[in-house]
């Protein structure tokens, strides 16, 4: 760490840790919302939450009207950022995360009882 600091300060660079990243492999069991082609693993920042991931899937689907999605990792719904999920479950960001998506159940208030 010391060497890094020396070099960084010599360059006048700030050294805040950037958000870490993880590869996600998106999939769904529902043919009506499945991706036209398998995008393969996509590298994302681990600070992403459900909403950002939903935007990602909608972009890949090229949907005209955004569909709200929910995300499942190892069978449980993602309720935090990816980073918090990884930490809580002792998974390192070196793995490709298998992430399943489903249509969000509306109204979202109902989800509070999960």
């Amino acid at each position: 760490m010391a060497t890094e600091t020396i070099i960084a300060s010599a360059n006048g660079m700030a050294t805040p840790d950037p958000p870490s990243q993880v590869r996600v492999q998106l999939s769904t069991r529902h043919p009506d919302i499945s991706l036209p082609e398998n995008p393969g693993p996509i590298l994302v920042n681990t600070n992403l939450r459900r909403y950002a991931l939903s935007t990602l899937v909608n972009t890949l689907l090229q949907s005209e009207k955004p569909i709200p999605f929910e995300f499942l990792i190892n069978g449980t719904f993602l309720r935090t950022s990816l980073d918090e999920y990884l930490t809580a479950n002792g998974i390192s960001a070196e793995t490709t995360l298998a992430v399943e998506y489903v249509r969000a159940i509306i109204p979202p208030l109902y989800l509070a009882s999960f």
Partner: protein, 303 residues
């Protein structure tokens, strides 16, 4: 992310296991390393060749630039001959940095990294052109073989002991920063170093790393200190997933400052100017020789 615990304790390989592994990869890559050695010898040969130079009263060849002043000076300035100077000695310091992170093991790139490490280190030691150092990197950077140590099969086996592909981060930024520091130290230790010391780092990794901006700045700094970095991406192609096709999703502000999602090709933002993607160790001698040939040509031209 210091609270992330590795799934296994970073287990140094047993000496016996490492020796067995090394001899396996050593024999697997023997023919290839001979081929790489020959290619590198050809690349290095012209730079080691002698040059005609100087201003002498007697010599082998006339220095055309001195003829007119010679006549103009009434034949007084008669140092008009060039001699063959003694071969210009060059020292090389070559660092092999091998990715020891978990993703290497999971993608099956670890095997390819071992093959690459065995291949390149054998070739370089056969060439006897300079010092070799081997680093491992992940969360931390560790030196698996120091510059001033002689390379041998025994040393190769000891190097393999350091790699388990269990580190839970891939800190390439720290690797480049630490490499620069190690190269500075190594340069200081070489007697009469100057411009004749050439420093090269080969990074062997699956190529998945973050913080490209800072890395780009560090790579530029290395370049300013005449340290050449070639990034060898070992692409194991497991499950048909190649780094060549990998995408990256980033949220960034657009022209009006609104945050928008952009999906880019991962390698388009890759911070290393010189990188090669190798899917099969058999391709390595060819592509590596090509990259090095380009580098040596550039250095010769600029020097």
């Amino acid at each position: 992310n210091t609270h992330l615990q590795p799934a296994f304790e970073a287990s140094p390989r047993s000496a016996e296991d490492a020796r067995r592994l090394w001899s396996h990869y050593e024999s697997l890559t023997r023919d290839l390393s001979l081929s790489l050695t020959e290619q590198l010898r050809l690349i290095l040969a012209p730079t080691l060749a002698t040059k005609m130079r100087g201003d002498f009263r007697t010599g082998k060849r006339l220095n055309i630039k001195r003829i007119i002043p010679y006549i103009a000076s009434q034949y007084k300035r008669d140092k008009i001959w060039m001699r063959r100077s003694s071969p210009s000695k060059r020292n090389y310091q070559i660092m092999l940095a091998v990715d020891d992170s978990k993703s290497m093991g999971e993608s099956g790139s670890g095997q390819l990294a071992f093959e690459t490490l065995a291949l390149v280190s054998q070739s370089l030691s056969m060439l006897e052109v300079g010092d070799i150092c081997v680093l491992g990197f992940g969360n931390e950077v560790h030196v698996a073989h120091e510059f001033d140590k002689t390379f041998s099969s025994e040393a190769g086996a000891q190097i393999f002991q350091h790699f388990g592909f269990q580190q839970t981060k891939t800190n390439v930024r720290k690797l480049v920063a630490d490499s620069i520091t190690l190269f500075r130290e190594a340069r200081r230790k070489v007697f009469n170093a100057g411009a004749e010391l050439w420093q090269l780092e080969l990074i062997i990794s699956d190529g998945v790393c973050e913080d490209h901006e800072t890395i780009r700045r560090l790579v530029r700094q290395a370049q300013e200190e005449r340290i050449m970095i070639v990034f060898v991406i070992v692409d194991a192609l497991l499950k048909g997933e190649s780094i060549m096709d990998m995408k990256q999703a980033v949220f960034e502000p657009d022209v009006i400052g609104e945050t928008k999602l952009k999906i880019k090709r991962y390698l388009d933002g890759f911070p290393f100017a010189y990188y090669l993607v190798v899917g099969d160790v058999r391709d390595l001698p060819g592509v590596l020789a090509q990259a090095l040939r380009q580098w040596f040509a550039e250095v010769v031209e600029s020097g």
